[in-house]
Symmetry: C3
Subunit: 680 residues, 3 copies
Amino acid sequence: MLAFVTTTHAQATRHADAPPLLLGVAWYPEQWPEAQWDHDLTLMQAAHVHLVRIGEFAWSRMEPREGVYDFGWMDRAIAAAARHHIVVVLGTPTAAPPAWLTQKYPDTLRVSEDGVRDEHGNRQQFSFASTRYRRFAHDIAEQMAKRFGHNPDVVGWQLDNEYAADSFDPDAKAQFHAWLQHRYGGIDALNRRWATAYWSQTYDNFEQIPVRADHENPALLLDWKRFVTDTWRSYSINQIDAIHPHADPRQFITTNTMGWFDGFDAYTVHQVLDIAAWDDYVDAGEDYDWVDNAARHDLARGYKRRNFWVMETQPGSVNWHATNVTLRKGVVRDMAWQAVGHGADAVEYWQWRAAPNGQEEYHGTLLGADGTPVPVYREIQQVGADFAKAGAVLAGTTPHAEVAVINDFDGRWAINFQRHAANFDPVAELKAFYRPLRAQAQVVDVVSVHASLDGYKLVIAPALNVLTDAEAAQLKAYVEQGGHLVLGPRSGMKNADNGLQPQGQPGPLASVLGGRVAQFYALDKTVPVVGAAEQGSAKIWAEQLQVESPQTQVVLHYGKSNGWLDDQPAVLTRQLGKGSITYVGAWLDDGLLDRLTASWLQEADVHAPLPGAPQDVEVCVRGDARHQVVILINHAAAARRVSLPSTMWPVLAKGAASNEVSLEPNGVAVLDSREVAANR
Amino acid sequence: MLAFVTTTHAQATRHADAPPLLLGVAWYPEQWPEAQWDHDLTLMQAAHVHLVRIGEFAWSRMEPREGVYDFGWMDRAIAAAARHHIVVVLGTPTAAPPAWLTQKYPDTLRVSEDGVRDEHGNRQQFSFASTRYRRFAHDIAEQMAKRFGHNPDVVGWQLDNEYAADSFDPDAKAQFHAWLQHRYGGIDALNRRWATAYWSQTYDNFEQIPVRADHENPALLLDWKRFVTDTWRSYSINQIDAIHPHADPRQFITTNTMGWFDGFDAYTVHQVLDIAAWDDYVDAGEDYDWVDNAARHDLARGYKRRNFWVMETQPGSVNWHATNVTLRKGVVRDMAWQAVGHGADAVEYWQWRAAPNGQEEYHGTLLGADGTPVPVYREIQQVGADFAKAGAVLAGTTPHAEVAVINDFDGRWAINFQRHAANFDPVAELKAFYRPLRAQAQVVDVVSVHASLDGYKLVIAPALNVLTDAEAAQLKAYVEQGGHLVLGPRSGMKNADNGLQPQGQPGPLASVLGGRVAQFYALDKTVPVVGAAEQGSAKIWAEQLQVESPQTQVVLHYGKSNGWLDDQPAVLTRQLGKGSITYVGAWLDDGLLDRLTASWLQEADVHAPLPGAPQDVEVCVRGDARHQVVILINHAAAARRVSLPSTMWPVLAKGAASNEVSLEPNGVAVLDSREVAANR
Amino acid sequence: MLAFVTTTHAQATRHADAPPLLLGVAWYPEQWPEAQWDHDLTLMQAAHVHLVRIGEFAWSRMEPREGVYDFGWMDRAIAAAARHHIVVVLGTPTAAPPAWLTQKYPDTLRVSEDGVRDEHGNRQQFSFASTRYRRFAHDIAEQMAKRFGHNPDVVGWQLDNEYAADSFDPDAKAQFHAWLQHRYGGIDALNRRWATAYWSQTYDNFEQIPVRADHENPALLLDWKRFVTDTWRSYSINQIDAIHPHADPRQFITTNTMGWFDGFDAYTVHQVLDIAAWDDYVDAGEDYDWVDNAARHDLARGYKRRNFWVMETQPGSVNWHATNVTLRKGVVRDMAWQAVGHGADAVEYWQWRAAPNGQEEYHGTLLGADGTPVPVYREIQQVGADFAKAGAVLAGTTPHAEVAVINDFDGRWAINFQRHAANFDPVAELKAFYRPLRAQAQVVDVVSVHASLDGYKLVIAPALNVLTDAEAAQLKAYVEQGGHLVLGPRSGMKNADNGLQPQGQPGPLASVLGGRVAQFYALDKTVPVVGAAEQGSAKIWAEQLQVESPQTQVVLHYGKSNGWLDDQPAVLTRQLGKGSITYVGAWLDDGLLDRLTASWLQEADVHAPLPGAPQDVEVCVRGDARHQVVILINHAAAARRVSLPSTMWPVLAKGAASNEVSLEPNGVAVLDSREVAANR
């Protein structure tokens, strides 16, 4: 069998039936009489569905009583799917324990920060730290692996579902104290680094430390997030250890994460997973913020720095917004192609068919509860037909970027604990930098500050609020080796303990920059920002910068505002050999940031693959100089024409090679630099 | 003695002194020295007050210590009132237990959904399910009945006060589990009907079922509301059983409900009560939404399908809004006449005199705490004088409607559990249909889906979200027998268990309609709706309809919007013999709904009693062809003239019979089709 | 040694080094290595800082283990400060107990109204009523006093920090019950005065009374606030009793209060303190509401009716707003001079240097965490230089007012418990009266209703909602002795038990006024108010007044509005000998109140010290006819010229005496009626 899941995932092997680009759905056979399964699978097959995810909420059916297992129905469901050329991802069902489990062992239930134990009736009611719960989770995962680890139609595993809810139960508290003890060694070190002399917080021992996620010392808050991260990591390992010994190596293991969700550091958790997979849900509306969604795909690709899966996405609408407006006709397909354009090898819709009852009755589906297709079924069927055409062309390709934006959980947490300016949303600020970069460079990576930066010509760290010495050293080395580094406002303000950098902002990079922050200002109105031939403004946040080296240049300064900022530097830059470091001390307006980005790209010698493409046409490129596939998505309400850098072959449409493409509203084009066999 | 309370209430008997239209007040003699009583009663008499409600918050005075009763003060209060020609409704005091009771028996205290036990100091602090509390409630009601059951000046009983607060105490939880067991027989049936395979909710036994009113399986949520309903019903029976053996049959038993309040199914609770009585409080402002209030009166009349009482209403203002604006001069009288116009036989103001202290010091009254009349006293005195003039004319009359709007608690609950579109308030949607109907048909009933629909030419079910097979069968029969049925959006979506109808919406009526809902859409902007000669729009909600029978006609369809709805049917109708069924798939704009309503009324051959009356003059009609009394209320800020269908005699004003009436702003006219003796 | 702290504080003695006008900062030596202290103190000295407050959050450092004390570091810190000519206020550290204390004695922890025990990690986590906590608080205060009570560099004591948080622990509950028993004698008296017959609240004993601060009988709510007040008073005495025996009488004792904060009656708590001191923080923005802040200074001066300290104020910005905008350049100095203009003898900035970690890292400071001055340092240094120049001139002076505004906690509480009109904020209403008074009279006192009113020509009681017979008698006597009294709306409505006055509003003053309130109206729109030559409006609240004496005149009446108010009296006045009483029944618009104020001042023969000064220039006067110091602060964005009543000498600026002054934007001038030595 040949690899198909992702070309970069060595263990994954191609299933005889499965195409390289997979259309999938979430299927809950346990909710329906077996006699209806074939009806559903036939309709899946007609829509070119080749993948189902099953099992992730079926613990009660798999283990109806403690230690009594029933997997026969799953055997039959997998076999039935296979008959329709559909492969399976199995979910471990630990996001929703059975009633018997939590009734008998209430200590496995999650406890909220306010001390309230959760109860049965919803999901995620378990404690992620409970030793007893992990034993049960290990056992059910192991039983599943023993049964399905060699099933040829099972291609991978999803652990649990959408890790999210912290717990403050006694297990979690004791583990947090032990975690702190391990991190700090002794209580004196903790007292010193947390500066507990403040407010007489001084601790005599680790047990005295309150376990909370809010209104505490910023050092404690940051460590709590790190502890939560490590706990989800070990929670994953617990199940991986149960599955690995019994499963073929071709079966990958992942979990499904949630966009910008910051409940844990996704880079750390992904260390123990084979591939990244995420659930792509967008804000309510007939349209979606496609640049935001593009960034989220790039974020997911950055977790493992290779192609990823969209494990869930919406067939038009969801049920958990206040008002669940459905995506306009055509936008579901547009989103599917955006995912692929950014490196997805599978796109899976949640869910296949409306459940007959339960909290999610109103969620979008492909089939109604009555088993008949709803209107969006046809549009997704079109996606399936597209994937069938384009799969071979895209096999083995992935996006390659020359520029990267740094996403850092420590910094996002630290700012969110202490916004200081209510509108300083660190994700919004990241996207303020991402937006012009995507428009001008077209292919962008979003990576951790710990990722290797080799090969990037330009790296932007939007608000790298927490900056450790090691991280600063890596960034310094990047610049010294010719890289171009741009730091956004609030960067380098905090040390590893979320304390203020003793050197002043940007901390260990101040000497590299040859400048520093004299004072920061939260803004409730805009402040003018000017340069030699430049006029713009800052909002939300402005830092008064100070030049401390003759080699450091003032790129922009503030106009007249609150007296303090008047005529003070707003943006500094310094050349270091072939590299450079730039510090942007304010949240600049979009136009200004757009023009600055152009100057940074020029300086770093970065060129867009399709220069001059219209702003509202998304350009995605997979592959490299040898073999390039361009995916164009028209997000405009009107038709658009796009010039190609060279003659390319259409993949979805019939037609001859051309150096220009026309796109209808919400139109998609896939173009191959090599001649496409099917179009000959 | 002759019946006076309501002509349709056989047991109620006329008190020698009491007029057929009663002006009343809530009086708290226990708050004042007995020496002051006569001062107050004299002022009541001067205002034509003939009714007081007493006792409903006086448990501490009636039973100062466990088992020790003191009713002497009530004997004297009732006798004192009688000397001023005032009859009495007695409230059982169970809405506010004494401190000694809840101190000694804390298990009788209410427990909130979050598990917090209520405490003394406010009211409604009891558990409605507590077995022990019911014993105390039974005993105090029985003691009262023994003392006052044959008192000729006591005309009826009010149980408790404004039933409202659920409890989640252990008694309530055990009873809910038993209730579920009784409903479903075995746990397997519950698992199947609740579809608990979803999220692994499967229960092994009834005790595992969480007892909550929020964030649970929709089936559980709906059953909780039904359990709450049955619990208030049995709570009522407990006291009725204590009163009946000791009370004259002429003494009616009721409780006072609260407009649109949906804490329980009021139809079920009213099964065990003699008459309906409600507390008519309006939103803060100088004016009130009189159409909303008209609908609430019609709702109350529909509980027992006969005349009702307004047990409380505001003498200008209340104290529980954020800003308690007082009704403009004249509006209090206007409201009193609206109540009568819709079938009230008594209008009682809360409260007579400002309490010297306590949470409601600021509430509107007729007398200040100092015992002197406040300005609104004169206006209410005018109401008393009106009632004295009109009582004889209105005796024995009630409104008679040819059209009905269905109010269904199951459906309202189901939608509120899962709004999907935040602004889809089912009461607002009901009123969207009620408003044009009231304007065009003038006399409208609001009834339960279980009420007999015989005699209605047109029935509108605004959002009959939950539709059981039995209900569907009754509606189908109504249409087949020549009735005209209009279903609003979201109708027939859910089955009795709040699960999705397996046939697709509108479920068991889809085959009758010859059409169905292909997909629903929550809207955040309007969508055009067009017909042959019609232009309008939909907001909040739009369903894409689908014709499935050649006899089914498209009345309206959508214009260009989100792609999915473009050119799709929005309103379908089908003739079945002399009857018809119409399905309105969207929340239409008011103008469109007004024109559609006209077409429905025309088709159903319904004619307004006073065609052509100005929109801002409310037309109420009591009586039938033999003897008709018309009540006109001018809600406009300017004078209005109204043409009468025939010559009628003025009842309040001196004057000759005429076929036209002039109304000042907030003016009221009562007109009799028979010559009025007093005006001769 | 000579007195310096305040000239009116007999015990306070001048420290050899300390100037009469003190610039200070909050310093936390415990947060820094001792080796860094001198660096900081040198920078303080350079900024003319002569005062530090230390110790108030250092309990863990003072008493690292139960009963083990370490004061050596404080000895050294005080000595180091003294070497830089800096005196010390010591804070007792009881606002933040050590971890060992609350871990071992969890009963000392605060319990919230919802029954949740607080925990370590923040501050104010103690129960203010805990007997055990008070023992610890006494001991640490006593140990400090023994150590520092005779230290010549320690000038005073601050008890705890910002008293604020009530506790509902068992100690507090038992004490409240005992407090009620003491107040009412027996339960029958309480039942009568609280009118507990209402809602069957009747109590059999004091233990049944719920202990809550919300949603209870208004009588209970008011008594709870009084109990809280008495508890903070005894909390203070507990520490005073520990300090006094061991401290020099020259060392004053105070605590730092918070502006309009109404958690307790500050007049009662100040009875046991030597001087008033408050923390002056303003709303977020580049500017501040200087009239509000002026009123807050006058409020603080009124606590002891002599000069006060600003114990904390912001060096530009704080960290606890949603968006912490920094004051515009120049405004920090402006605020410092406003404080002095209203009677401050010390202005202290919080805090000196950014803490290396902790919840307040982002708060404004003079030094960054890195030990270098931030921009505002220079501006505060200027304040220090100013103080050095002006200290001698201002020594011994204080403002003298002819007019007073009454601030009454009972009334503010009572209204806030029952706003009735959501926007009726009693502080906003007080300021509506204060604003024109300050503009026209320029020097204004804000005092308790229990203060002696001798010497005031005009007294305004904005919303004296609770009015006891004794208070009414004092106000009556004031009028009879020639005083001019103005009562605002809602005055005299409630008695001492927060019950409605049995005589009707304004209760015991109705007979003095010769008029009363017939009915009150909460407003959601404005109502016209007219007089002989007057046109204006009322908002939020309007009372329909009624004349009951031929000597009572209608000053203003309402125009056409809701029918009830049309043409009814809005403002009444009555002359009584040389005095007068005026009742303003509505919240009048600013213009109207401005003109009314002019008429009141004219009638009372009050004249502004600097008539005709521009509205946006604040005029402050310290001293009396013999020696007057005028402080002018230009709050305008443009320059202003101010005419002086006579030739005066500039104190801050070099220059000759003049009868006119020019002020730059945010400019400050200090002018002396006597020739200034330094300028000669």
